[in-house]
């Protein structure tokens, strides 16, 4: 067949026009059909935004939380160590010799690391010389849960943010998402570094993230978290349902001025500190 350049250009030009025109027509049709949908969605959005603006969302179900009395930790410096040990023993947490491998669920840290948003200028002596216990805040709006691609970390029906280690693929998005740095990654096989094995709780394997689970396995059977139990009668740590107006935590919250960690981020932590 004799194909001339002139013929080819004609066909190509007409096809291009038809293509452009076609998409324009399709766009028009879609645009004609969509305004109602678009309006509906923006309306829904607006409604959601206003709902969000009303600070405390209506309390439904349980929301476990904790109140930490930092003053009691200052009065009895052994408490922090006790709580850490109890947690390590309860959850088969490995103790690696090198800091870079460290796995921590609860630990003591300096005031300025716990509350970086608070003023650090001219700190009083007690604050300067004592440490504050930190662990997962079990946020009401947890950023780690949003980041997890496999739903390995999730908020359970009691408002506790826990890990399903079976599902964790070790991507560490949750670690990047947690604004408090409360998660640890198993760079190495933790098994050989567990000093005393607790038969009631599994260990972890290399390549999974772990963090405080508010002792979900203990509160599930009506016990107190291990750290709370370790603090014993001192009431330095009090655990309970924040949604129950008659719970002990709510009573303490009513009687004391408390602060949360980085409240401006809007994660709504469930751990409160009396400083």
């Amino acid at each position: 067949m004799d194909k001339k350049r002139r013929d080819f250009l004609k066909v190509a030009g007409i096809s291009t026009l038809a293509g452009l025109g076609g998409t324009a027509v399709v766009d028009k049709i879609v645009a004609g059909a969509s305004p109602a949908v678009a309006n509906a969605s923006t309306a829904a959005h607006a409604e959601k935004d206003t709902a969000h603006a009303k600070a405390p969302v209506a309390a439904t179900g349980k929301r476990y939380g904790m109140v930490i009395d930092v003053r009691k930790f200052q009065n009895d410096p052994s408490l922090g160590e006790k709580a850490e040990r109890a947690c390590i023993e309860a959850h088969n947490i490995p103790e690696f010799p090198e800091k870079k491998d460290e796995i921590k669920w609860i630990w003591m840290t300096n005031y300025e690391n716990c509350f970086p948003e608070k003023s650090q200028l001219y700190k009083d002596e007690t604050t300067e010389s004592h440490q504050v216990p930190v662990f997962c805040n079990h946020c009401d709006d947890p950023p780690c849960v949003r980041a997890c691609p496999t739903k390995a970390t999730f908020k359970n029906k009691d408002g506790v943010v826990i890990m399903d280690f079976h599902r964790c693929i070790g991507c560490r998005f949750c670690m990047a998402a947690c604004p408090y740095g409360m998660r640890s990654f198993n760079w190495r096989n933790p098994r050989p570094f567990i000093k005393e094995t607790n038969k009631q709780f599994p260990t972890r394997m290399r390549g999974v993230v772990e963090k405080c689970n508010f002792c979900a396995e203990r509160i599930g059977v009506g016990e107190q978290p291990a750290c709370v139990e370790a603090c014993g009668e001192s009431k330095a740590m009090v655990f309970g349902d924040l949604n129950d107006p008659h719970s002990e935590v709510r009573k303490i919250l009513k009687e004391n001025y408390t602060i949360q960690r980085k409240p401006s981020l809007g994660t709504h932590p469930s751990v409160f500190y009396i400083v």
């Binding site: 029906k157 399903d164 394997m205």
Partner: protein
């Protein structure tokens, strides 16, 4: 056919050669595994057949119920209460992983990752 005297024996030898795995192992599938059953427990959470075919699904269901749904309800057998737990219920009666789990898993060449995290009974 040219050279049929060489080709046909050659083909036969070739076929025999590539089927070595079939006739070499013929009639010798290895002894069926005999997992050691607990002596003091008579009944499991399900019948033996159901456990044999579906223990992996059951374990997954237990995991999801306990961890995801927070449903830690117990199972009652012969008036005794059992938790939904591999470490605390299954291995309570089946005290040996080597003599129970591993016998079949090795035979079937399956490598479950349960014990990467869960703690097997001391043997």
């Amino acid at each position: 056919m040219y050279d049929s005297g060489k080709i046909i024996p050659g083909l036969i030898i070739f076929v025999l050669f590539i089927t070595i795995p079939i006739w070499y192992n013929h009639g010798d599938a290895g002894n069926a595994p005999k997992p050691e059953l607990p002596k003091d427990a008579k009944s499991c959470v399900l019948s033996a057949e159901d456990m044999r075919s579906g223990h992996m699904q059951l374990l997954n269901e237990w995991r999801d119920e306990v961890l995801r749904d927070g449903d830690r309800g117990t199972i009652t057998i012969d008036g005794k209460q059992y938790q939904k737990s591999l470490m605390l219920t299954c291995m309570e009666c089946h005290t040996s992983k080597k003599k129970f789990c591993d016998t079949c898993h090795d035979y079937a060449s399956v490598k479950p990752y349960c014990w990467d995290c869960h703690i097997a009974p001391v043997e």
